[in-house]
């Protein structure tokens, strides 16, 4: 490497450091700390009483707007029946993002699982504008696996969200009723 090249690199490093230094510092939304404290003391106390541990990050999510879909899965058979429980519901405000947490309880680790998300009309997954069906490959660990989905309702229609998890010849469906106000 030539000296000029080194000097150029050092100059770029300084420029990059200056850029990084000017990166805006993230600030919490007003009231977030108070909400987080309130949830912590409430849930912490509950945990102390019950020693029940919630899964993952999701003790609460942004602005407390979380819905949990929890399903046991992959026990036997190619198509597991629904659990029989009523379909959970979430009410969203128009054009206000809301996080829905999918929690998959897997009895064993699974590589190359496929998750397909079918969204109701007028509801989008943040970052995937205009896509009503999104499929990607994922890996699940044994135990609880969490996938937060930030949804945005662009029309008041609402409908049913369907998440289908497939692995080998087995699959499981999770449904969520989405109402928009």
């Amino acid at each position: 490497m030539t000296e000029n090249h080194e000097n150029s690199g050092q100059q770029d490093d300084l420029e990059i450091q200056a850029l990084l230094k000017d990166l805006p510092a993230p600030e919490a939304d007003a009231g977030f700390y108070e909400q987080a404290l309130a949830r912590a003391t409430l849930q912490g106390a509950r945990r102390q009483r019950t020693r029940w541990v919630l899964a993952g990050f999701g003790g609460a999510v942004a602005a407390g707007l979380a819905v949990w879909l929890i399903g046991g899965m992959l026990l036997n058979g190619p198509q597991l029946p629904d659990t029989g429980a009523s379909i959970p519901e979430v009410t969203m405000a128009l054009e206000e993002p809301r996080t829905v947490n999918l929690v998959f309880s897997a009895t064993e680790a699974m590589t190359h699982a496929t998750l397909t998300l079918s969204l109701p009309a007028g509801v989008e997954l943040a970052g995937f504008p205009g896509q009503s069906e999104i499929t990607w490959e994922t890996r699940l660990n044994a135990g609880r696996n969490l996938l937060p989905l930030k949804l945005i309702a662009l029309t008041p229609a609402g409908g049913e969200l369907l998440a289908t998890l497939e692995h080998d010849d087995r699959n499981r469906e999770f449904r969520l009723r989405v109402d928009v106000t």
């Binding site: 990059i16 987080a36 003391t41 849930q43 919630l54 609460a60 994922t138």
Partner: protein, 183 residues
């Protein structure tokens, strides 16, 4: 101690560190939603360890380490990086949004727009780094952590931290040169 007294004691222990912890959560997680969840989970965990926390001389580093461990545990347990990488890269807001309304260039729309674009390019470039590299370069070059503080936080040797820092800057240089942000 009553529940109310315990809650008050907990708040006195943790609140002084909120801003730094929140920024750390953001730098670790890379997105606002995950940062808030991580921050929340830290508080819940810390509340369960209030007796231990009360006897720690410097709660800040302890809380930071717990947060980092939560982040690592979560990474091991869940595979959702792809979703969030795409989401954050495409949305391109959160960390950038406040810039236009503040900052030294606020009176100069052209300069402000240029700076905003540079920041957006930088954030996209950061999103292309591995977590290990992104976290080190952000903590060191943006948050002002010393190498030894990063070592203490991550449990990685200083030499490795230095190496990651160097490689992260080099990769950023490549990306930002390719997209024209750096000449």
């Amino acid at each position: 101690m009553s529940r109310a007294e315990q809650n008050l004691a907990f708040e006195r222990l943790v609140r002084p560190h909120f801003d730094r912890l929140y920024r750390l959560a953001w730098r670790l997680a890379g997105s606002k939603a995950e940062a808030e969840d991580l921050f929340q989970e830290l508080l819940i965990k810390a509340y369960g360890k209030i007796d231990e926390l009360a006897h720690i001389e410097q709660p800040g580093p302890w809380l930071s380490r717990v947060m980092h461990n939560l982040f690592i545990d979560e990474k091991r347990r869940f595979t959702r990086q792809r979703m969030h990488t795409v989401e954050e890269a495409q949305l391109g807001d959160d960390g950038v949004a406040g810039l236009a309304a503040s900052g030294a260039a606020a009176d100069d729309p052209v300069a402000n727009q240029q700076q905003l674009e540079r920041v957006q390019h930088l954030e996209k470039a950061l999103a292309q780094l591995s977590d290990d590299h992104r976290i080190v370069v952000l903590l060191h070059d943006n948050e002002g952590y010393k190498l030894t503080e990063i070592q203490e936080l991550t449990g990685v040797a200083v030499g490795t931290v230095k190496s990651r820092l160097h490689r992260a800057r080099a990769r950023l240089r490549e990306i930002l040169t390719a997209d024209g942000t750096l000449s």
